[in-house]
Amino acid sequence: MPTTNDRLLLIKNGRLLDPASKTDAQHDVLLHGPRVVRVGPDLTSSDAEIFDATDMIVAPGFIDLHCHLREPGQEMSETIETGTRSAARGGFTAVCCMPNTQPVNDNASVTRSIVDRAAAAGAVRVWPIGAASVGSKGEALAEIAAMKDAGIVAVSDDGKPVATARLMRQVMDYCNSLDLPVIDHCEDPSLFAGGVMREGPRSIRLGLKGIPAESESICAGRDVELAILTRSRLHIAHMSTTGALEYVRHAKKQGMRVTCEVTPHHFTLCDEDVRYDTNYKMNPPLASRADRTALIAGLADGTVDAIATDHAPHHPASKDVEFDRAPFGIIGFETALALTLSELVHSGKISLPRLVELFTTGPARVLGIERKIAVGGSADITIFSPDLAWTYHASESPSKSRNTPFDGRTFRGAPVATIVAGQIVYCRELGATA
């Protein structure tokens, strides 16, 4: 984590997009140390370092609700240090890491070790998510209250669904009293049953075992009903199906505190893109074309609250195997913004202010916090160019892993600078084509 400093940084000439204060204007922002001290048009400061944000968007620091940092226990795939450096390159100022580490983050001492490690070596803020059940085994409740004191911001058994309806109800009730959201990875194990991609014409053609969409939607339905029953906060992780989306819509209509996120790969690719390349293998799998269309509509109309990456690094050798045997997951910090710009903004499906919501106020609402650029507030800022042309090369990433289907893809739009507590933790070399 960046140390406190006294530096004056003036971000000039950018377009300030701050959904929380409904600002969309050519406002400058002056930072002093870790705080925002002034916001307004045509600011000047004699001692400040100037950051020229001409043609760029200046937004509150992006939050990624869902990622895997693999530390403790799987450091050959990623560490808190390498993962957060990759996150900074993607424009994220805070990331929420899932508990499926080794050991599972199901108690305060693992939580503290993550928090301490992040403070020492993390490039951005790390907000851990604790396990719902001990070992995420789906039997006994984890030490959620203790973990909350140690710093978790939510609870999940991600990698798997919370195992039974009965357990989920208990988790929801308990977390409600602790004011923590419950995040569920929606899946029905009996329908999932060894599948490796979405069931459909493509899985038939490739001869790969398919997972029907109902595996997700049946579980989402269960969770939404329980959320209504317990009146608690439910967040559906990496939602990929029309069925699950409809349940969320239904819950929101009833005023329930049910939220959801969609990953960039789910609104960019679909099952027709899958080939014998393990960079197309993830869970939930790439969905049908129709699901993708529905998700994009949900992103536009507000049913979807946030975009989250589900950054899932895997050491290259572990992915260089037959499709069936490969682990699920792809990395995603560094392509998230660019994909959102190209697939959703430049194609006219959502506006730039909506994009900023999906990366800032949306995730903040899920976590029950605020995210804005306000005088006196924390200097967490994401600056990006909506039009900068660049090519993504996975080999240049600080992440230890390379499992992405987007390697070599050219984009229009990129993160330019990431500021956490007033420190510039990432700045793109402009003038170069990288």
Binding site: E199, G200, P201, I204, R205, L206, G207, L208, K209, Y276, D320, V321, E322, F323, D324, R325
Partner: protein, 321 residues
Amino acid sequence: MLQRLEHLLGIEDLTREQISFILDQAKPFQEFQRHPLKKLATLRGKTVAIAFFENSTRTRISFATAAARLGADTMNLQAEASSLKKGESLLDTVRTLEAMRPDGLVIRHSSSGAPEFVADRLGVPVINAGDGTHEHPTQALLDALTIRDRKGHLEGWNLTILGDVLHSRVARSNIHLLSKFDVRITLCGPAMWVPRELETLAPTVRRVTRIEEALDGADAIIALRVQTERLHEPALAAEEYILRYQLTPQRLKLARPGALVLHPGPMIRGLEIDDAVADGPQSCVLEQVTNGLAIRMALLYHLVGGAAVEPPPAKGPDKSQ
């Protein structure tokens, strides 16, 4: 000019012309099986690695015999005996083979896409002997040769495929091949093993669940092996299968007179096929075996023999006269 084949990974990407070429080239090798002395020196000095990561006696022996009759040596790898059981990855196993410098690789594997995985990484021609539930191209080629020989031509017939189509790579390869020749294909079996999505494989495919409907008008029938391990997933009693889908002489009469009966083998007599049908005059199973040898010899000849081949340099007369 026929596009040259580097590997044979599947039927889906072959053109009609390439398939016809392979079937035509199998003919001299069919004739060859009748020679008293079945040994050529054509691939002498070449080594064909036969890597079967899944159990199979008949296909493995067929490839090994094909290679031997062409004069090639073989390197034999079988899953139980191999280090794969000890946790060595496919990539490492294959790299080990590669270090012994074979001139071609025949691979059977339980993961769909494994032959492509290997072909992308090795520098030798790869022949897919069956991958997961994806393709079994040499089976489809020998089935097509068998039908073509008996019927005179491939185009325009009605084919019925009976059984667990969902999990059958033989069915998929046959569908890809015969649909390119405008053969109308009917798929039939228990509903959970013949999902509607199979109709998306080719425009001439339809799916039914009643065997009577499937056999009506059929000119050729492929009876698939019931993979008994799958009878439990979900549970389906063998008696249920026999009751509704066994190919019996009575049911065979519903097809066109003289309809051909094919089976990829090994047959489970009394389950998917009745003895009388298996041994009857319409059954082509033994020709399928002979044709399998001819097809595999033709493929090894062209892929392993032809692979060493560069286009002739533009100098000097043809001294081969």
